[in-house]
């Protein structure tokens, strides 16, 4: 009996893991239903769905990048105050004084860019294999919402270092909102909290970036994965190309 088996069969370990064995397919299925995280997975998938050629593993890549961003982002929050007087100096301080600060800020920045790429590539891959077709139409729509949230997360985070790059990129980005017919000026005012990018903008973008948007993303992502699980066993007949009826 190896160590993990002994843990699972002990009194305390057994209370954690519930299903003690992973030997038969039935055990493994039971393991899925009794595990909080694995519960998001189906028990079985079509063979083609585990191949790199079919998925590129772009969905799981996007999710892992979001996990990296959450961990590194929480770390950065400990050393950052979202006000024009503090923000830039805090980022400098993170890079020069905080242990592993430069590394974790780098990881946060690059993972954010990679997540935009991964989500966009996931969308393209899903399109080319036709995985938006019935019964998965709505999950495609949920995916588009996730793409928009990802872009908003990246854009709100872009302002936080409060350097020239951040300031003017957000000035350009938000100036487009002013062209919305009728309510453009109000939309821009709502985003900026004033006529130009300033302390109100920084605070708004910060709150959106660290609380509102990540929580929204987790909620919508959970729906996305749950629907994937539900649809995993409803298959299209790939040989004839017809919906099974």
């Amino acid at each position: 009996m190896n160590l993990s088996e002994r843990i699972r069969k002990s009194t305390i370990g057994g209370s954690f893991f519930r299903s003690p064995d992973r030997v038969t397919e039935r055990d493994r299925a039971a393991g899925h239903w009794s595990n909080f995280l694995l519960h998001l997975y189906p028990v079985k998938v079509r063979k083609v769905e585990i191949t790199f050629k079919y998925t590129g593993f772009l969905g799981v890549t996007s999710a892992v990048l979001f996990g990296i961003l959450t961990v590194t982002g929480v770390f950065l929050m400990f050393f950052y105050v979202p006000s024009p007087a503090n923000a830039y100096g805090d980022v400098q301080n993170i890079q020069t004084q905080v242990a592993f600060g430069q590394f974790l800020r780098n990881a946060h920045r690059w993972a954010a860019h990679l997540m935009v790429l991964a989500v966009a590539a996931h969308l393209a891959r899903v399109f080319y294999r036709g995985a938006y077709k019935p019964p998965k139409e709505f999950n495609w729509v949920v995916g588009v919402v996730l793409l928009v949230i990802t872009l908003l997360l990246s854009f709100t985070g872009y302002l936080l270092p409060w350097d020239q790059l951040a300031y003017w990129a957000v000035t350009v980005g938000t100036s487009m909102a002013a062209y919305v017919p009728l309510i453009g000026d109000q939309v821009q005012e709502l985003m900026l909290g004033g006529p130009t990018v300033g302390s109100a903008t920084l605070l708004r973008f910060y709150v959106l970036h660290v609380a509102v948007l990540p929580l929204t993303l987790v909620g919508v992502l959970t729906l996305h994965i749950w629907r994937w699980r539900k649809d995993a066993m409803l298959t299209l007949d790939t040989k004839t190309g017809d919906i099974d009826a």
């Binding site: 493994r28 077709k133 495609w140 928009v148 350009v172 487009m176 062209y179």
Partner: protein, 173 residues
């Protein structure tokens, strides 16, 4: 209540036969040989994918520092003034068309078009050869978007004039 005349098939007593399709309706249960258990087949692959992603991010973060320019100065507008790279295509359009088109109509049409896609494309086929119109349309828009993004990101310099990225570099990450 005992069945006075039970039908026996093999050793089993047959209780009844119900007409119609299976209760789940139109759905087909895939044949057993087409499916695999997620544990361990998919979980192992996802774990490897996660490790690869983490490794890639760690390597990039070790070797490349995130940019940090001078402190924000509302009185000093840089030239060129660039949006983040994923909005570079929109910014490029903004230089060519009326702001209402580039800033509102195009992004709105992209999002609405993506949302509408599964309801517009009702062709049930998954065979690439039977989806040529859908694939061609999507490919054209995607290539166009990537080209515009690259142009806005790398090929635009002072006053949004054309530059060659190997001569002057203006891309900002």
């Amino acid at each position: 209540m005992l069945d006075p005349d039970p039908k026996i098939i093999g050793d089993k007593r047959l209780l009844g036969v119900v007409p119609g399709k299976p209760g789940v309706g139109d759905r087909k249960e895939p044949a057993a040989e087409e499916t695999v258990m997620v544990w361990p087949n998919l979980l192992v692959r996802h774990a490897v994918a996660a490790l690869v992603v983490i490794l890639v991010v760690v390597l990039i973060a070790v070797f490349f520092d995130a940019p940090l320019r001078e402190i924000a100065n509302p009185l000093n507008t840089p030239n060129p003034e660039k949006a983040p790279w994923y909005f570079a295509a929109l910014q490029e359009l903004l230089a060519q068309f009326h702001p209402l088109v580039a800033g509102v109509l195009v992004p709105g049409a992209i999002v609405l078009g993506l949302v509408a896609l599964p309801y517009v494309d009702r062709n049930p086929s998954l065979d690439p050869r039977k989806r040529q119109i859908a694939r061609a349309t999507f490919t054209v828009f995607m290539v166009l978007w990537i080209a515009l993004t690259l142009i806005g990101f790398m090929f635009r310099g002072e006053n949004w004039s054309w530059v060659w990225p190997w001569q002057e570099w203006h891309g900002e990450l």
